[in-house]
Amino acid sequence: MTSRSKWALAPAFFAIAIAATMLSAYSGASSSQGNSPVQPIQFPHPVHVKELGMNCLYCHNAANKSPDPGLPAVGTCMGCHTLIGPSRPAANGRPARTSEEIKKLQAFAPIGQPDKWKEIPWIRIHKLPEYVRFPHMRHVNAGVTCQSCHGPVQEMAQVYQNASLNMGWCLTCHVNGYQLSQGLEAAGDTVGAKAAAAAEPKKARYDCAVCHY
């Protein structure tokens, strides 16, 4: 190696150092993105949302009126699953099936014995730090689709954390604006997305004290 090429290495090392810094800074290494724990009951979102066409707000019924989205009460599950049991005979051209998960649910909530019901200890996936206020209703009522943040839950056999939930991720939307068409696209509403293509991006306040107090 000539001495000239030795000198040429210095900027290369410098560039690698900068790249490493940037990578670590922007990678969101502290995020729990992708976290996908096994839940006590393997609730199949695709079946409920895609096949049965249930709206997110049917179960997460506080999402449009409270900072908390709300989790369905056991009674909400049992509203249907009192009738829809673990074993389903073949009907309407569909084969018979036995669901272990509905069995588990009914073990938590025995039919006809409400005093024996137990709480279902769901494992939390999406968690913002305690010093962040995220009012769900402001976002839902502004037309932000659930999938914009939570990802394609309707496709998730097992729910995982879709976004990094880092501050920079929040700010991308707050500063640049939320594109309704993209949100609808994520929700699988391609028709609506096309119709909303021309909509102005919806911006949100980016003052610190809007979320941190």
Partner: protein
């Protein structure tokens, strides 16, 4: 905050054990632990509740006899805040510190977690079945003879009293006693005799002259909140308001709010009252006799007498605590009658009906005698602590030991319950049903606002359960619980309709009997000094001592916390060679107490004073082993109504060897001419002369312009900003976010503020402010500690001795004048919190933008960005920034401020700050955001005065007004233009968002202060 979401039906709310899906936001900043967190949903959704959204329930406050209406904010099944019910006739939305601290009674970490029974000499946990069986057995053993049993209850003006007597009667026992050690029974008796009601409404606003003879109507005497409201409303009439004269040996908070203090010798009040009676044409006494008895100059007294004669209408209130109080109270009734004040300033028709149902130590004497005689077989105590709050000289505890079986219904382990054989812990008032007579014709309802947190039972339910096990009584108690009794009493439909308001019309019958009449004691004792004892303004007679908010709330007069003290005049202290903090031993025939000296201008040189409330030996971790119990030096002396005489005569005072630093929040009691609390005399106000203006010699004059100097967006850029700048971002009023259209601001009317400090507690409750004065919260004194805690600073208030209190809002109390020891000094109470400066000196120094100016005018503190340089505090001229020196919000720390279950009170909307983080008043930004969110949800703009901060909400004086100063429709926008307005340290160009309105003083006609505007104030202002 005042939206009532009424229940749809009268049924116990089905709050399950779980706290809902919200999860308690109690983790501290900086903890990003990745522990697996569970989300526990409800089993069945409770009606009307949305997770994460507060529900509001009306109920009645049971912390004192006044029976204020309150609204409990309940979030996910736990009460997080108590506020006054704005529709309630007694308190009209305000709530005192004591009332707000009800939550700390509910969540007190030392509460009994279940029934206890004495086994092998110790109280051990038991089951309710066993406990009730034991109770039934003991009731059965004693039944039949009225004298066999006694039931001592706390003050209760509701129908429970009648219910209780009915239950006692079923066993053949006599009626219960409602013992209230703090009640002024002499006045209640005299009022009842003279006006027909125990506590008439005092209409200060209608009076032109108020004379208080020892009546501390701002210190907790009577019904604190309504009196304070009326008083503040009266003073807010400024020039048309009353002049206030206070007569007493010690200048209490009420005295400090008076224009003139007549330092009367204890026992001399009667002669003064007689002289005053003569003045209004009654058959009284002479001024000369009054001067002789009171140690006040004849000229001074003549001035008052003349003033009373010449001023109509007037208001004379008595609240003397000597044995002769009954006579004086009667004289005052006569004065008011003779002066034609009844119906004008004294309004029996609008009486406070929570009073007049209690008895005092005079009645307790009977129980003690029965116990000593051995005739008392069964003693039941509920809601009161006689083993602590009767004078030790009466020997209650010793007598109690002679009773074969003692039952306590106390929720907390206290001196009395610890002597009992069976403890049946009562539900907290916020967990139980009940009612209370608020005003004539109005009954305040009490409903549970949340499910009980411990295995406790409402006493009424316990009685019912016991009775149902008795064959002869079972038929009388067919209901399932006391709830059904209440429902039956008011009717299901009527109650359902009434609960959202929290009140029904009607009067409760079958309440406790009229006050007793006994021979009054006499002043006595030997020694050089008169001894005055008085109920602590917030701890009362000790019942508040187990609540850390109240322990940490500075006494409004002395500003001392977590400690007892002896008040002594500076001249006397000098004579005795006593410095502040030197211990003084006060000795009477009954006993002695030793406490550090507090040198106080507002006490007669021949008098010392000690507050009650401390000195608990058993009342939970926050109360125990703090200070002294002033009841130890009182004898069994009472007034004609059987109420304990708190001033019994003379005592010997000696300097002790010890010295304790006073645990006080006061740095300097003087303003040193800095114009922090400013005042005007009426003459100046009327003439428009702007005097006592704070001037800074040598500095360029800043003529004060009322209002906010830089109201909206400009303040963000300040005077030095470039007004032509195109890029102001969100600070541009035309920015799409619209944030810069608002300017949150506050006015504080010092003419209204009495210094009561309710706002301080409201701030603690709203903003999750840790209390830091408990013994275990001190710092380390050496590197290695033994397991028993040696090596830590375990002095009470150890952190506060180091100035580390966390109160975002403090009330500064400055004295003006009186440097020569005279009684003529003025007091300025200045609530001081973050001033949200337009040009905040704290902001530019922060290296990480943890504090900055928000477009809507807030000075924001971002806790999670704070690295803890503490530079902002150095920059702040108002010194309103507080640092988390220890991990007060971290459970695993020794200094943790919210031991379980106190943490359930934490406001989920406010971050709990971690170690090493700076914090300060945020103008309740969480309420701003909540209101904005609500408005957005309802698709509307914010309404003027739609919400307010916690301090303004609680303020019983209505001194604080908060709102958007940029919008002329908000009240605050008008208030900031008031000609009395000023900014503190205006010359520093901080352009604060808090405007203070000057206090207005009413000096005596013909006095120097009244005649020459500002002449009296000027020397005091100039000197330093």
């Amino acid at each position: 905050m005042t939206q009532n979401t009424g229940p749809s039906g009268v049924k116990r709310r089905q709050f399950l054990k779980v706290l809902g899906a919200a999860g308690a936001a109690t983790t501290a900043v900086g903890c990003t632990n990745e522990q697996v967190e569970k989300l526990i949903p409800y089993l069945n959704s409770p009606d009307q509740t949305v997770p994460g959204v507060s529900t509001y329930y009306t109920t009645s406050c049971r912390e004192c006899a006044a029976a204020c209406g309150i609204i409990a904010e309940v979030r996910d099944g736990r009460a997080v805040k108590l506020e006054g019910n704005p529709d309630h006739p007694v308190n009209k939305g305000a709530l005192c510190a004591k009332g707000q601290s009800g939550l700390q009674g509910l969540y007190n970490p030392d509460r009994y977690r279940g029934p206890m029974i004495r086994e092998g000499g110790k109280l051990v946990p038991t089951t309710w079945d066993k406990a009730i069986d034991t109770l039934v057995q003991k009731l059965g053993e004693s039944r039949g003879a009225a004298a066999n049993a006694a039931f001592i209850n706390g003050p209760d003006s509701g129908s429970f009293a009648g219910y209780l007597d009915g239950w006692l009667g079923g066993y053949g026992f006599g009626s219960h006693l409602q013992y209230d050690p703090g009640a002024d029974l002499a006045v209640e008796a005299a009022n009842l005799a003279g006006y027909g009601v125990a506590m008439p409404k005092l209409d200060f606003a209608s009076a032109k002259l108020v004379i208080s003879i020892g009546a501390d109507y701002l210190d907790g005497w009577g019904a604190s909140v309504p009196q304070q409201m009326a008083f503040a409303d009266a003073r807010a009439k400024l020039a048309d308001g009353p002049r206030v004269i206070y007569i007493g040996a010690r200048r209490s908070l009420t005295g400090l709010n008076a224009d003139t203090w007549i330092a009367c010798q204890p026992g001399g009040e009667e002669a003064i009252a007689r002289a005053l009676l003569s003045a209004v044409g009654g058959n009284g006494g002479t001024v000369a006799a009054a001067a002789q008895a009171s140690g006040v100059t004849e000229a001074t007294l003549q001035g008052i007498v003349d003033e009373l004669r010449g001023t109509k209408p007037s208001l004379v209130v008595s609240g003397v605590s000597t044995p002769g109080a009954g006579v004086i109270a009667g004289l005052c009734v006569d004065i008011n009658k003779a002066a034609g004040n009844v119906g004008v300033t004294v309004k029996p028709g609008e009486a406070l009906t929570g009073f007049g149902t209690s008895v005092g130590v005079g009645a307790m004497q009977g129980i003690i005698e029965r116990a000593n005689a051995g005739t008392l077989k069964l003693l039941m105590v509920r809601g009161v602590n006689p083993a602590y709050d009767t004078p030790k000289a009466m020997g209650f505890a010793a007598a109690m030991a002679k009773v074969p079986f003692k039952v306590s219904f106390s929720s907390y382990p206290d001196e009395t319950s610890e002597l009992c054989d069976l403890v049946l812990p009562d539900d907290h008032a916020l967990e139980s049903w009940g009612d209370v007579q608020a005003t004539p014709g109005t009954i305040g309802l009490q409903q549970p606002v949340m499910d009980r947190i411990f295995d406790t039972r409402a006493s009424a339910d316990v009685m019912m359960m016991a009775a149902r096990k008795d064959a002869t009584l079972a038929a009388r108690y067919p209901q399932k619980s006391y709830r059904d009794v209440v429902v039956a009493r008011y009717g299901s439909a009527a109650l359902t309709a009434a609960l959202p308001k929290g009140m029904v019309s009607g009067n409760i019958t079958g309440r406790a009997a009229a006050p007793m009449s006994v021979p009054a004691g006499a002043m006595g004792g030997d020694g050089e000094f008169f001894l005055v004892t008085y109920p602590h303004a917030t701890l009362g007679m000790g019942e508040g001592a187990n609540k850390p908010w109240l322990q940490e709330l500075p006494d409004p007069v002395s500003k001392i916390v977590w400690q007892s003290w002896v008040e002594i005049h500076p001249a006397t202290a000098k004579r005795l060679g006593v410095a502040a903090g030197d211990h003084l031993t006060v000795t009477t025939a009954s006993g002695a107490v030793t406490a550090p000296a507090y040198i106080y201008l507002g006490i007669r040189p021949d008098t010392v004073a000690v507050a009650h409330g401390q000195g608990h030996t058993r009342y939970g971790r926050y109360a125990e082993n703090l200070g002294v119990n002033a009841l130890d030096v009182l004898g069994a002396t009472w007034n004609a109504a059987g109420g304990l005489a708190l001033t019994q005569g003379k005592a010997r005072v000696a300097k002790a060897a010890e010295h304790s630093q006073l645990v006080t929040l006061e740095g300097s009691a003087r303003q040193h001419g800095r114009g922090i609390g400013q005042a005007l005399t009426v003459a100046e106000l009327v003439s428009g002369a702007t005097t006592e203006h704070h001037e800074l010699p040598g500095d360029a004059s800043h003529e004060f312009l009322p209002g906010l100097r830089s109201p909206v967006a400009n303040d963000a850029q300040g005077d030095l900003g470039d007004p032509t700048s195109k890029d102001k971002g969100m600070y541009d009023p035309n920015h799409w976010s619209g944030m810069a259209k608002r300017r949150w601001a506050m006015t504080i009317d010092l003419a209204r503020c009495t210094g009561c400090s309710a706002c301080v507690t409201a701030c603690y409750a709203e903003n999750n402010i840790p209390t830091v004065g408990a013994r275990w919260q001190g710092r380390s004194l050496r590197p290695f500690h033994t397991a028993d805690g040696a090596g830590w600073d375990t002095r009470p208030g150890a952190n506060i001795l180091k100035g580390r209190e966390m109160a975002w809002l403090r009330i500064e109390r400055y004295f003006e004048g009186g440097e020569d020891g005279s009684s003529e000094f003025d007091t300025r109470f200045v609530p001081m919190m973050c001033q949200h400066c337009g040009n905040a000196p704290c902001e530019p120094v922060c290296p990480v933008y943890a504090t900055y100016h928000a477009p809507d005018g807030l000075n924001v503190q971002v806790y999670n960005r704070c690295v803890g340089t503490r530079y902002c505090s150095n920059g702040c001229p108002y010194k309103v920034r507080y640092f988390n020196w220890h991990g007060y919000g971290e459970k695993e720390r020794r200094q943790y401020a919210f031991p379980e279950p106190l943490h359930l009170q934490l406001n989920p909307d406010v971050t709990v700050r971690g170690k090493g983080v700076m914090e300060k008043c945020t103008f309740c930004v969480q309420r701003v955001r909540e209101a904005e969110n609500l408005a957005k949800l309802e698709n509307r703009e914010l309404q003027p005065d739609e919400f307010t901060t916690a301090c303004a909400q609680a303020c019983p004086s209505r001194a604080i007004v908060f709102g958007d100063a940029a919008d002329p429709n908000w009240s605050v926008a008008k208030m900031v233009e008031n000609s009395r307005g000023y900014h503190v340290f205006e010359e520093l160009n901080t352009f604060t968002a808090v405007v203070y309105l000057k206090k207005v003083n009413h000096p005596a006609a013909g006095s120097a202060a009244a005649a020459v505007p500002a002449a009296a104030a000027a020397p005091a202002q100039g000197a330093h």
